[in-house]
């Protein structure tokens, strides 16, 4: 490790500030997500449809889950429709 030749107190102070700034910058994404969350969850589990306070559009599902979800939704809608009167009769 090289020695810094005769560092002054100012240099030392700046280095301390530099280290602290480096640590804060490295933790900045974590701090941003903590204070202004864009992916705070909760993760939607299969078969659960009701979220009072989260937008459906923000939720992440993988292709497999989407397929299952759609099937469930279709089944539920079909069940509801079955009870409606036949307006064409």
């Amino acid at each position: 490790m090289r020695m810094v030749p005769n560092p002054t107190s100012t240099t030392f102070f700046l280095l301390v500030l530099g280290i602290l700034a480096f640590i804060i910058i490295m933790l900045l994404p974590a701090l941003v997500e903590w204070k202004k969350p864009k992916d705070a969850g909760p993760r939607r589990i299969m078969g659960h449809m009701f979220f009072a306070q989260t937008e459906i559009g923000d939720m992440m599902t993988d292709a497999e889950e989407e397929h299952v979800f759609d099937k469930m939704l279709v089944d539920r809608i079909a069940g509801i429709i079955a009870f409606l009167p036949n307006l064409e009769a």
């Binding site: 994404p29 909760p42 993760r43 299969m46 078969g47």
Partner: protein, 434 residues
């Protein structure tokens, strides 16, 4: 003489350091193996015995122990009535365990409306002694072939029971464990970090153990066990704080296995303060250590476990010693740097530099959590991963205290199994239709 003494001390410290580093490396390599296993198996089709066309619907008894859970138990019992499993094959037993709030009254209301819901009230003379005791009381009234446990704050998906019962088609499967997801994740930083830990623990750890045929853990909730097996094992052990880990080991030692099913999910309410986090993890750490003392030799001697299961079992049992090992490792390294390393270990010392171990090794748990969130399709939640450094550091005094308390209680011959209950606030209720 002084120089000779220093050299001897350096040699002893170096040997101690190498042993500790070896143990730590075993855990860290395990993290990498688990994560890469799950990544590789992610796209593979599901196992044959979980095929969609298998219909296996045994009778099920769901046990829900509840002590002062008025804020969450209503939601959980309501969810039990919404499960799609045939009601004529389902029995729900709520064990109201010496509660001083409205838990009992809420449970009674549901029992009055639904024939398949029963409530056991335990007064302070017999109740309030912890979860294992409450579950054993419920087991006596259970009639189902499969016993499923949920904590009072749990909210499973509607077809949870159908999913886990399929795994019991395999006669070697004694227990099935589902996945747990944190419901109140957005509440504060504690819940968000706990959610990340849960992702690493279930999405990666449990899944990998299942893929590799290792010791998958029963978490004591969101899982089912064959009633015949449970009764033959004598029910839950009331003298151990981690009754779930104890049961896991007893199941494996009896020649059965625990199956993990990532597709059978339940929500839970995570702890919401660092104080509550401490209490919960302290209980887990102490309970795990109790199991380590009880079962480590049983695992080594067992004829029902293969070599890889024995190795993983020992690593799993002693996992809560890892933060203490890390502390000892650092404490050993500093005097080693000051003293001269001995010639005997010179070459080895060059091969195992502390930076390599710390850098690559310590990255392993973050890698595990990160891949878990990635596979879940989470995006910005990954940005919080660096903050897990602080939870890992926080676990060091927790585990150290748990070990110290356990040692003291063993030396003094005093059993201290006081169950410090996790308080649930119901803050997750807003995320589900209630």
């Amino acid at each position: 003489m002084k120089a000779g003494g220093e050299d001897l001390l350096a040699e002893v410290l170096e040997a101690f350091f190498l042993i500790l580093a070896g143990l730590m490396i075993a855990y860290l390599v395990r993290h990498y193996i688990f994560t890469i296993t799950v990544l590789k198996n992610h796209q593979k089709p599901k196992r044959v015995n979980t095929a969609e066309n298998i219909t296996f619907q045994p009778t099920i008894s769901v046990l829900i122990p509840a002590h002062n859970e008025e804020k969450v138990v209503g939601r959980t019992i309501q969810r039990m009535t919404e499960l799609t499993y045939p009601k004529d094959k389902l029995q729900i037993i709520i064990i109201e365990d010496a509660s001083t709030d409205k838990t009992g009254a809420i449970a009674d209301q549901y029992a009055a409306m639904h024939n398949h819901i029963k409530v056991i009230h335990r007064d302070r003379k017999v109740g309030g002694r912890g979860k294992a005791s409450a579950l054993n009381a419920g087991l006596k009234r259970a009639a189902g072939e499969i016993i499923v446990c949920f904590d009072a704050d749990y909210y499973p998906q509607p077809d949870f029971l159908e999913r886990i019962t399929k795994e019991f088609v395999n006669p070697k499967v004694g227990v099935v464990q589902g996945r747990i997801t944190v419901l109140n994740e957005p509440y504060n930083i504690v819940t968000r970090l706990v959610a990340l830990e849960r992702i690493g623990g279930y999405r990666i750890d449990q899944q990998a153990r299942d893929n590799l045929g290792l010791i998958t853990q029963f978490g004591g909730t969101a899982g089912g066990i064959r009633r015949s097996l449970l009764e033959s094992l004598g029910g839950w052990n009331e003298s151990i704080l981690a009754e779930d880990t104890d049961l896991t080991l007893r199941v494996y030692l009896a020649g059965y296995k625990v199956s993990y099913l990532n597709e059978a999910e339940s929500y839970e309410e995570a702890v919401e303060s660092w104080q509550a986090y401490w209490k919960q993890r302290y209980r887990w750490a102490k309970g795990h250590m109790q199991c380590a003392f009880k079962h480590s030799f049983n695992v080594i001697r067992s004829k029902n476990l293969g070599l890889k299961e024995k190795i993983d079992g020992l690593l799993m049992l002693n996992v809560y010693f890892m933060p203490i090992l890390a502390l000892l490792l650092w404490a050993t390294f500093i005097p080693l740097l000051i003293l001269k390393p001995s010639p005997l270990f010179g070459a080895v010392w060059a091969l195992l530099p502390f930076p390599l171990y710390s850098f690559v090794g310590n990255f392993a748990p973050f890698f595990e959590v990160g891949i878990g969130t990635y596979l879940d399709g989470r995006t910005r939640a990954n940005w919080l991963i660096p903050l897990l450094i602080f939870t890992f550091l926080y676990n060091i005094p927790i585990c150290t205290k748990a070990f110290a308390d356990l040692l003291i209680s063993k030396i003094l011959g005093k059993d201290d199994n006081h169950w410090e209950k996790t308080v649930h606030s119901g803050n997750g209720n807003c995320y589900i239709g209630s």
